[in-house]
Amino acid sequence: MKLLLKNARVVDPKASIDGAFDLLIEDGRVGRIARNIAAGDATTLDLAGLCVCPGFIDMHVHLREPGQEWKETIATGTKAAAAGGFTGVACMPNTQPPIDSRSVVEFVLAQAREHGAVPVYPIGCVSKGQQGVELAEMGDMAVAGARGFSDDGKPVASAGLMRRALEYARIFDLPVIDHCEEPSLVAGGVAHEGEVATRLGLAGWPGVAEDVMVQRDILLAEYTGGAVHIAHMSTGRAADLVRRGKAAGIRVTCEVTPHHIALTDEAIAGYDTHAKMNPPLRAEEDRAALLAAIADGTVDAIATDHAPHNADEKCVEFSQAPFGVVGLETAVSICLDRLVHGGVIGLSRLVELMSCGPASVLRLAKGSLAVGADADITVLDLDHSVVVKPGAFASKSVNTPFGGWTLRGAPVMTIVGGRIVHDGRAKEPR
């Protein structure tokens, strides 16, 4: 089976390609990239005016299965991923039961094979039962297909456990992904500690609670030689610590979410629980510092922290509402609008952040359009304006702060292994 993508702008940062080419897919792999490839027996798609990029990978999503299927399932979450331009997602292990053993990893992979629209890369727990006490069977999970380890939803609070996890994960060359918050400093906080929280009378979640944990993790990564990945980095100071850690040759990587790129704590002003997430939306100085870190190469990945919650669960008092927002179906448009059209970075750098970067952190042979690579492709329309309509999401949940936003740029087609898993080109007139 052959598929020929014609007349698109092909952007492949790894091969330093950015120009008008045709791309031929053969047997699920990239066959050729050249000008004017003859169609032959291939099915031809004219993608003039669109951009063809190596498939985007969201390395931080919550698929909620097993255990919280009323919020999301592997089927609906991966459908949302496909609709949002992602050719793969890494799912966090804070399910019920948590992904802390080979059998749960295998369950997730089996569900993904059977019902998934895109591949799922499971992240296993650092600790048994996510309890933060004893190491989980990381090796067994790695063999079964886990792509990294995290107690996400919670930090690895014990420095001793984090040390052992970083040391042990070296056997499998996989990263330990930490949700960085020092519990005694967060102490029940629900909003960024600053003027907005003070005005609203909400308990503060200070940025320094993230910073001390990021610094601890970097020191431990240096000491152990392990690879640490900072999940959903939200403060300017943390970005600075990662920048310095990288300069010192320490194995530290980090991700930033679209909501921390697009919003500040001002968004919670009306006690809107759709703007309640963990870590919280920060001050404008933090947002500006994250943009700088995205531009200067400090940030490795943009990841959504897609955290679906049922509408009833979010429709409660602010302090009582669960943390988290969905992101799979808005991330690419937010990033094109705010980062690319906003003049922060070029498209090629965005592709690094959404494809090559996450692939590299998770040690996946993805993020490239080299001949022979898996034909995982995200097609973008840079100028297509979209209005965010939560009611039209493929996700089971609609907890987004972006409902009604008009954004310039959108993912229009998602191809996994040469197969079109989502085609949004015809849906709306251009």
Partner: protein, 314 residues
Amino acid sequence: MKLSSPHLLGIEPLSPGEITLILDTAEGFSDLATREIKKVPTLRGKTVVNFFVEPSTRTRSSFELAEKRLSADSLNFSTSTSSLVKGETLLDTLRNLEAMSPDFIVLRHSEAGAPHFLARYGSTSIVNAGDGAHEHPTQALLDAFTIRRRKGRLAGLRVAIVGDILHSRVARSNVHLLTKMGAEVVLCGPPTLLPRGLAGLGARVTHRMDEAVEGADVVMMLRIQRERMKGGFFPTLREYATFYGLDAARLSRAASDAIVMHPGPINRGVEIMGDVADGEASVILEQVRSGVAVRMAVLYLLAGGDREAASQER
């Protein structure tokens, strides 16, 4: 002049003109307590639900009395009797209350933003009777009413607010009100109980009590909760009293005609010494008295009344 919103969610959204309107209207209601018949027919036929999801005696009693004196029918719905303990959500409770067609819901709630939630999802006029650490607008209004009666004005006064600013809705509402009306506010407490970003609210901040009290026209003390000690905000009540308790010596640094206020209930010997609480400068009981008139004014104005009509009615 009328209020621009059907709700009183906080002082922050009010204009100085609206604050003055409420205070002036309350003047009209304040002499009612001394009359033979302590009642006007103003809100006859209106139903007010006092929905208290946090224990409160004085605020609830004050609202209840205000409602009764306005001839409204009131219904008390509090934590122990409400279905919230049975796991019902706030939204469902609101819908159930609204099914009984109240005209007002007066809400006291432990979570900041709870009255905003009711205003957003319901169709009844909401009065915030204290939401978490956010606002307690009728307290600030009755404080302003009391100050205005004693000092004849708010603009240009120096007001020191001392205590647990971090957890205090009274402090926040007072900062908004007093700064809007042109008073100078100094907030004082141990740094552990001073939240970030207070300067953005227009107040000056210090952790030295003598500095806060120096030359003040009004010294407002806040109740310190014993739980805060366990939270690690200060070592002992004894030590707190040493550094932040208002005694006669500290009060002597204030203006010679300074008044002492406290939203109650007071902890004698902790944030305020007994002789000061009972002393000449204390207006603590006057605050309680003002509360009824101010709450009557709020309900009356939210029901759509204006000040001129209020005067005619009496």
